[in-house]
């Protein structure tokens, strides 16, 4: 590896390569094609060598296996990543804005004293200068950031780059750990999956989604009535679930489910990047939000800048009346 290379931390979810990994590889390939260098993927886990062939968009794939890497806990991953960055000296390191990437980016940045930029959506590399576009303020602002000290660690928002699954040399290099990794003070015990029994929102054709604009728990009923009239189900963005108004099985977005229904009717959802991640591929998106600058309108097909509390009952009544004709 040389100081011109672009490194990607591959992520696993339920023992499979997580989709964000292919987006990171898409970004890395674009940078390497424009500014030179190899794309190098770091693949860490308990047993990962068999998965390395799926990262053919990278020129090199470095695998590190250890029992302490079998489930994610920050310390062992941090130690391996720090070691890899010091020996491989890439000029840009890409991590996902995910439960793993957000834990590691600033920790490793602090250890190797590298700049860290979060919320990245677009990267441009020219020589030793990296230009980054980032989202902040829940997608209501963008920043153009110049990074003049490399290596830089960039935390990429999901959906920013197209996935790449090939195009690299795909050489696999197994990097053994010299000694078993210490577990650290934070240890992974087990994964807990949501209990079955509730509606599976990933299988619904029509979803009525509620966000902060629903204001109170009692108002969820408006969405439920509307969903019933449409023959769909109610789901929500994270703040509504955090309030305990709907179960986690109904949550759409980074923390919840990824859905692709025939119709996604978003009520009072601003459309923060974390929410968009879970629903942007819906076939038809209709957004109701009183804020005309809400980012949800960037991805919705149709929108109405009105108060959902005024519109939802009218829409429900019209749908019911239509059925009764």
């Amino acid at each position: 590896m040389s100081a011109r290379d672009i490194a990607v931390l591959a992520e696993l979810h339920q023992e499979k390569i997580a989709p964000i990994t292919y987006e990171l590889l898409g970004c890395a390939r674009a940078l390497a094609e424009a500014a030179g260098g190899d794309v190098v993927a770091f693949l860490l886990g308990g047993h990962v060598e068999a998965l390395a062939g799926q990262l053919a968009a990278a020129d090199r794939i470095i695998t590190v296996e250890d029992p302490a890497l079998a489930g994610f806990s920050p310390e062992p991953y941090l130690n391996v990543l720090e070691n890899l960055l010091q020996t491989e000296t890439p000029r840009v390191v890409l991590l996902g804005s995910t439960t793993i990437g957000l834990d590691l980016a600033s920790l490793v940045g602090a250890r190797i004293q590298a700049p860290v930029v979060t919320g990245c959506t677009r990267l441009q590399l020219a020589g030793e200068q990296l230009t980054v576009l980032s989202h902040l303020y829940a997608g209501k602002m963008c920043a153009e950031v110049e990074v003049t000290r490399l290596p830089a660690i960039c935390v990429m928002l999901p959906g920013s780059y197209r996935e790449r699954k090939e195009g690299g040399r795909g050489q696999v290099e197994v990097r053994p750990c010299e000694a078993p990794l210490p577990a650290g003070a934070v240890t992974f015990e087990k994964m807990i999956f949501p209990e079955a029994g509730d509606i599976d929102i990933t299988q619904q054709d029509i979803l009525v989604a509620v966000g902060r604009g629903i204001k109170q728990q009692e108002n969820i009923e408006l969405a439920e009535e509307l969903a019933e009239a449409l023959g769909g189900a109610v789901c929500a963005s994270r703040p509504v679930v955090d309030q305990g108004w709907l179960p986690t099985t109904r949550q759409v977005g980074k923390s919840g489910m990824t859905v692709k229904p025939k119709c996604y009717l978003a009520l009072g959802i601003s459309g923060a990047p974390e929410h968009q991640e879970g629903m942007k591929n819906s076939h038809l998106i209709v957004a109701i939000n009183s804020d005309p600058k809400a980012p949800i309108y960037d991805i919705a097909h149709y929108g109405a800048v009105v108060d959902l509390m005024d519109l939802a009952p009218v829409l429900t009544e019209k749908l019911k009346a239509r059925k009764n004709v």
Binding site: H13, F72, P74, T99, L102, D103, A105, S106, L107, G109, A110, R111, P115, V116, V117, T118, G119, H135, Y137, K140, M141, C142, A143, E144, V145, V147, R149, L150, G184, A185, V186, T187, F188, E189, K190, I192, P194, G231, D242, G244, K254, S255, G256, M257, T258, C263, S270, K293, Y297, I299, H301, Y302, G303, A304, V306, D310, L311, L315, K318, L319
Partner: protein, 256 residues
């Protein structure tokens, strides 16, 4: 268990954000402030742990924005001790600048557990929670959705994963946890109790050194996202809009 909680203020996104005269950050003169949502969850988690297992909760806050209102509410909720860190900067400090400000003050409370919101939507140059853990030389895990005591010197923490899954982590104390959400929603505190706290609460003050800005990072400009204009906006009364939505649903085969 001695728990310290970080409290930060952020601009309220309900109000329109304006960009400052240099074009490089928002104009705080125009902003309304509220507590960082994730810090509010961190505070709630601390109070839940205290109520279940005893101990003390110390809130450590940067004196920025309308922090006193938030701290009076924290006192009304049951926080035992409140420490304000003086700060005169015009903009909120970046994560790397803030970590050295908070670290010595938090260290002085000798906490078993430090709870801090996992992120704030103002963060651009890394995230504060892991930088704070690094400055305190304590282990860290973030995107935590609930914390429980797990015997002397340990807690169990539930870490977010996609698909509403969670990883169960066993955490040896002392440690820093980046909170995404508390085990229960943040509690409502009646205004009468906040008013009482305004008369009775005592805020201590402790200083910390402002950290250096992130190396090699320069915000060239801040701008509003370009609206793609992809959404076709439906105009008219609620009746008109509802009729148009139904027509779209019919045309797209959503309803028959």
């Amino acid at each position: 268990m001695k728990i310290s909680v970080v409290i930060r203020q952020v601009p309220d996104l309900i109000e329109p954000l304006t960009i400052n005269s240099t074009g490089t950050w928002i104009d705080y003169e125009e902003a309304m402030f509220l507590v960082n949502e994730y810090d509010d969850h961190a505070l709630e988690q601390a109070l839940l742990l205290k109520e279940a297992h005893g101990g003390t909760v110390t809130a450590v806050a940067l004196d920025f924005g309308d922090v006193e209102e938030t701290l009076y509410a924290a006192a009304a909720k049951g926080v035992d001790r409140i420490i304000k860190i003086p700060y005169t900067g015009e903009k909120s400090p970046s994560p790397l600048e803030a970590a050295p400000l908070f670290a010595p003050v938090i260290a002085s409370t000798s906490p078993d557990l430090v709870l801090v919101g996992v992120q704030s939507y103002e963060e651009l140059q890394g995230t504060f929670a892991p930088y704070l853990a690094h400055a305190l030389k304590l282990p860290y895990a973030g995107l935590i959705q609930g914390v429980e005591a797990a015997g002397e010197g340990f807690v169990r923490a539930y870490k977010e994963f996609p698909g509403a899954a969670k990883a169960l982590l066993r955490v040896q104390l002392p440690a820093v946890l980046g909170i995404l959400s508390a085990s229960k929603p943040p509690r409502y505190v009646p205004i009468s109790r906040v008013r009482a706290a305004m008369k009775e609460a005592h805020f201590e003050e402790q200083e910390g050194p402002l950290g250096e800005p992130a190396p090699g990072i320069h915000v060239k400009r801040l701008f509003y996202p370009e609206v793609s204009g992809r959404a076709e906006i439906l105009e008219g009364s609620e009746e008109d809009i509802a009729a148009k939505i139904i027509q779209i649903f019919e045309e797209k085969g959503v309803i028959s």
